[in-house]
């Protein structure tokens, strides 16, 4: 009778996420890919960890950004490190580019989902190889696609509309960063699990750079917010 509610097998499967990261936003620009993510790790409704690096480089040509369960992201990094290691051991002059890594991740995520034991993440995978820029995403149920701009979680609702309007081919680095900061600022205002400490990651043919953490300027001094109910006494 007890087994109907929760069997022993349940303790072997991921049922809920615990420590989670919020959105990741990525765009293609002139020289490569730009990714942005904040450094928050929430434990339910508490902001538990404020220096979580949610973006990591993978091999020579790719960079991965993750939202969702942090421990599953760490596990994915172990899988990817093993993948790159095996690739290096072949020593055949070829190295896995972003397309290959993305495909590998898609297979891993989809297979786990089929076993009802998902890796609770939404991932952004970007990179440049032989001049070809690549930006893709895959999530915990295995849905994957590539596009000129991608986002996970809340970023899909708040950042993608802005990117659809304002992204264009051949953004310069400064324009790209400005656009990403615009998206991250809106997320900071309107996503409760966002934290004002973010990193921007850049990947070009030359290699990967992940910036130092910094914070965005926010503006809270609209006159209408100072005394909002001056015209409507008693309301709020």
């Amino acid at each position: 009778m007890n087994n109907l509610i929760g069997s022993d097998a349940d303790s072997q499967r991921t049922l809920y996420p615990y420590v989670t990261g919020t959105s990741v936003v990525g765009i293609k620009y002139k020289d490569g890919i730009l990714l942005a993510a904040d450094m928050g790790g929430s434990y339910g409704s508490t902001l538990r960890y404020k220096t979580v690096e949610r973006m990591k480089s993978v091999g020579k040509h790719s960079i991965i950004g993750a939202s969702g369960e942090i421990s599953d992201f760490q596990e994915i990094m172990r899988y990817l490190d093993e993948l790159i290691l095996y690739d290096n051991m072949w020593d055949d002059g070829n190295s896995f580019g972003p397309k290959e890594v993305h495909n590998y991740l898609t297979r891993v995520m989809y297979n786990r989902r089929n076993k009802f034991n998902p890796l609770w993440n939404s991932l952004v995978l970007g990179g440049v190889k032989n001049g070809q820029k690549y930006l893709g995403t895959v999530n915990m149920i295995g849905v994957h696609y590539e596009d000129n701009h991608v986002a996970t979680g809340f970023g899909n609702h708040l950042s993608r509309p802005i990117l659809r309007d304002e992204w264009h081919e051949n953004l310069t680095f400064e324009e790209g960063v400005k656009l990403l900061e615009k998206c991250m600022r809106v997320l900071l205002y309107r996503d409760r699990s966002a934290v004002n400490k973010l990193q921007i990651a850049k990947i070009t043919e030359e290699g990967v750079t992940i910036s130092q953490p910094y914070s965005l300027k926010t503006f809270w001094n609209f006159a209408a917010f100072q005394n909002p109910t001056v015209g409507a006494e008693g309301s709020w």
Binding site: P161, I162, V186, R190, A223, F225, T229, G231
Partner: protein, 309 residues
Amino acid sequence: MSKIAESVPPKGGFSFDLCKRNEMLVQKGLKQPSFLKTGTTIVGLVFKDGVILGADTRATEGPIVADKNCEKIHYMAPNIYCCGAGTAADTEAVTGIITLILSHVVLIAITSALCYCFWYACNLFYLFNVAMLSLDMVSSQLKLHRFHTGRDSRVVTALTLLKSHLFSYQGHVSAALVLGGVDVTGPHLHTIYPHGSTDTLPFATMGSGSLAAMAVFESKYREGLSRDEGVTLVAEAICSGIFNDLGSGSNVDIWEKEYLRNYMLPNPRTYVSEKGYSFSKKTAEVLLTKITPLRELVEVIEGGDAMEE
């Protein structure tokens, strides 16, 4: 001693009898269909000396677009208008009760056909009625108040009437409103949630497309906007909802002192068939021709007998 007639509803307030029956049915194992949040993007913006309201024009019933060009900006008073999302946004004819009932007969037929239980349709009918009546009611109450006081209506009056009405229905009337207007005290913009809570804001968005529209507002709003800049920003926010949210679509309606219906039509029907739509008589073989005149010729006699009293 004397039996209280059970058919008499309690004075004022919502009758929760059907809610008890619904709970009983759920306990017996009935799967309760959830209320559909009708897709909408509605926004409001306060600029230097006024308020601008904007709305999309799509009304959905589940995955189907029921009305491609409905009106979501409702009249409250000559100087106060209200955008409605949720239940309120589904009806087009908002003023007459007869039109209201007729449109809901259609709705019941559709909901029944979609395998929703009839009891659900009954509930829905009642609540739709009540949601739209709430706006009608408030605009009528405001008019009576104007006659009584001899003054123009104030936005806070409409706000208080709406919020107390929605609160008494405990959130069962799922109307989320953006109320805006200009009165003697200045321009005001408020949002009202289905449970009756309100916010007073310089810019606000509601509905399923609210995140897309809010992204535009949060990145482009600044103080001291002129009227034209404000209207452009509102149109941009609604377009963001129309193109990025599946529940919103079609055209942009704007209200700024006057109702600009279909201010922008960013989804025109561009396909024109080359062959045209006129079919010559030789297209089909005619087997039988029968002509029935619709009107009989009537002789009108001038200066006839007077009407009988």
